[in-house]
């Protein structure tokens, strides 16, 4: 029998997510013991061809679907979508060791989807107000105006009009 593994999960839907810990022990044959909040759940988990799971927990049947994005794991069951930041102990230690300083005043405006830049309103060095439009990205026939979250100065403009951008592409940096 494999040794139990402890995971830490933060519910990213919460305003101030707090980590909850879970331990998972494989019993073999698709069965696991999961301990959460001191409660012991003996579950049967069958992987499905589409990457999901059929989970049976004390008779309750859940058809579960997952979507991964780095350490963020989105889980959908019975119409509820939850996103967790889920890591195991090893990863948690690794993170603590490399936790970086995040500049509070720096705003990076990224493209929220693949599309095309149709308008750039600002130049490097320009001062912007909160809510001021910076760039317009068109995707699927909709134009989306991206605005400054806070006042600041444009330090970098990556966006070029007429150029296609990928999901998450850096467009403008405001400091």
């Amino acid at each position: 029998m494999a040794r139990p593994i402890t995971y830490f999960a933060k519910d990213l839907g919460e305003a101030k997510p707090e980590a909850r810990s879970l331990t998972v022990e494989a019993l073999g044959g698709g069965r696991y013991v999961v301990t959460l909040d001191g409660e012991r759940h003996e579950v049967d988990a069958l992987p499905l061809p589409n990457g999901g799971l059929s989970l049976l927990d004390n008779g309750q049947s859940y058809a579960v679907e997952f979507q991964e994005k780095g350490d963020e794991l989105s889980v959908q069951l019975r119409g509820q979508l939850s996103s967790f930041d889920l890591v195991d102990e090893r990863k948690l230690r690794l993170r603590a060791a490399t936790s970086a300083h995040v500049g509070e005043g720096v705003q990076e405006i990224n493209s929220p989807m693949p599309g095309k830049v149709v308008k750039v309103f600002v130049k490097e060095g320009e001062a912007v107000k909160e809510g001021q439009p910076l760039v317009v990205v068109e995707a699927m026939k909709m134009e989306n105006e991206l605005k400054a979250h806070r006042a600041g100065t444009v330090t970098k403009v990556f966006a070029k009009e007429g150029v296609a951008v990928e999901n998450g592409a850096k467009l403008v940096v405001v400091e």
């Binding site: 995971y7 119409g79 979508l81 195991d88 909709m142």
Partner: protein, 503 residues
């Protein structure tokens, strides 16, 4: 007029499939057109023939009249169905079809001229004695004229594209300081969607209902209406949920609106399927908003409640056929449609194109799905984000709502973000269930419609997430040492030994 022998469908995605389904039932061979981005789209292989009409941007493919006509010529198609969007409301296209000897399955160019440009349509309707919403009837020369006019009728106002609908080029403006930005984006969207950046302005009615009447006319002077559709559930001026009949309309009001709609259609010599859109205020006054001179996305709710195949009627009428009946019918039971979009409601409905890994579509009693996607398909980022229309029927409205909830709970589209859960929350919302919801409903309740959490389900999700991570870990370990752990890999991939025992 001659019988149609082969139909080219000048559209893509779910509406192309919808039209081809009826053609197939009528025994008519179909011709698809596709852009270079749509070689792998479902409509390209659903048709009997398929021709490439240009590169990905619709302005270089689906909107290029010569390329469409050329595909018809090469395939020997003798009729063109335009679907909705793209060239469906373009009178130049209708004239080009006529010139090429092709039957256009839709209204005559003259009716489009009269109704297609919304500013002209308002003028025509006022002449015909149809009530309209206060607003401009002439286009603005510049933003200053717009600013002056907005002041005169008072904020809030709506900026609207003269050249088309579908929420494109449409902006609500609440305050003078927002006018510049709205003017810019509305015109730019209008240009890219309709190749015409003319916008006009209307008084924004406070929380009106958006209710529309389906009309149908043949070439022999017959024109009927097929009752109303309630389309007040809108976000960013785009319809999201539609139903028939409207929960707030009496038999008398249906009759009155239907008669006005038929009058409007007759005033422009209409032929084929068309829709007269009205705004209905709190006192149940109704105002002409615009006419859509084509099939509507929400046509299934009318089909469910009348038993008619509207596309079959369009083809019948385009061949010169007489309307199968000319007396109004009362709607039978209740139908609801929701539009499934590749978008994220939580981030202001940001489009979310991408690859669909798996699809499970609901079915069972009185459930209909009109979609144009398949597992493994990549939703391109250059076209409209609607991927399916899901509709249901039931004897009563409450049963239809419960059926829609059930159907939505079965719908699974993995790989991309969709508005499926948002739609479930709409149809479960007390205001929707009550039935008297106006166009302010979705924006007003936005936060609530994103959904609330249930601790029991959160716990189950956490457990599922942890087991998933554990299995992923096992799989990774196995792939690092494949020889040693081959059994594990096979357990994961192809099921596992039948070790399940009764417990």
């Amino acid at each position: 007029m001659a019988r149609i022998k082969k139909v080219l469908v000048a559209n893509r995605g779910e509406i192309a499939i919808r039209v081809m389904r009826t053609c197939r039932e009528l025994g008519l061979p179909t011709v698809a057109v596709f852009s270079e981005a749509d070689r792998s789209a479902l409509h390209t292989r659903f048709a009997d023939e398929a021709y490439c009409v240009g590169p990905a941007p619709s302005r270089e493919s689906y909107l290029v009249i010569d390329n469409i006509i050329d595909a018809a010529r090469r395939s020997g198609a003798d009729a063109i169905h335009p679907g909705y969007g793209f060239l469906s409301e373009n009178p130049t296209f209708v004239r080009a079809c006529e010139k090429a000897g092709l039957t256009f399955i839709g209204p005559p160019a003259s009716a489009m001229d009269a109704m297609g440009d919304k500013v002209r349509a308002r003028t025509n309707m006022m002449k015909a004695g149809v009530p309209v919403v206060p607003g401009t009837t002439a286009p603005f020369a510049n933003v200053e004229e717009a600013r002056t006019y907005a002041k005169s009728i008072g904020y809030p106002v709506m900026l609207k594209a003269s050249g088309g609908g579908g929420g494109k080029g449409m902006r609500r403006v609440d305050r003078e300081e927002d006018l510049d930005s709205a003017w810019r984006t509305a015109r730019s969207e209008a240009m890219s969607a309709f190749n015409n950046d003319t916008v006009y302005m209307e008084k924004f009615l406070d929380q009106p209902h958006h209710i529309e009447i389906q009309v149908f006319a043949d070439m022999h002077g017959n024109c009927i209406h097929l009752n109303e559709r309630e389309c007040s559930a809108q976000r960013r001026n785009q319809k999201v949920v539609e139903e028939a009949p409207s929960p707030i309309i009496s038999v008398e009001m249906r009759k009155a609106m239907g008669e006005v709609a038929v009058k409007a259609a007759k005033a422009v010599g209409y032929v084929g399927a068309g829709t007269i859109e009205f705004l209905v205020d709190a006192k149940r006054n109704f105002y002409f908003l615009e006419m859509n001179t084509r099939l509507q996305v929400e046509h299934p709710v009318t089909e469910w409640t009348t038993g008619i195949d509207l596309v079959a009627w369009q083809i019948h009428v385009a061949q010169g056929g007489v309307l199968p009946f000319v007396r109004p019918v009362q709607p039978r039971g209740h139908a609801i449609e929701v539009r499934v979009y590749a978008e994220d409601p939580a981030t202001n409905f940001m489009p979310s194109p991408g690859k669909i890994d798996s699809v499970r579509v609901p079915s069972g009693p009185y459930v209909r799905d009109d979609s144009g996607v398949y597992p493994g398909y990549t939703v391109p980022n250059v076209y409209d984000p609607m991927i399916s229309k899901l509709s249901v029927w039931a004897p009563t409205r409450m049963e239809a709502i419960l059926r829609m909830k059930r159907a939505l709970s079965e719908y699974s589209l993995k790989g991309i973000t969709t508005n499926l859960r948002y739609l479930e929350h709409i149809v479960s919302h007390p205001e929707f269930m009550k039935g008297d919801y106006d166009t302010g409903f979705l924006p007003r309740e936005h936060q609530k419609l994103l959904g609330e959490k249930n601790e029991k389900l959160t716990k189950a999700s956490l457990i599922a997430a942890a087991v998933y991570a554990h299995q992923r870990g096992e799989k990774q370990a196995a792939s690092i040492a494949p020889a040693a752990a081959a059994g594990t890999v096979s357990t994961w991939r192809t099921g596992r030994p039948n070790s399940w025992k009764r417990s």
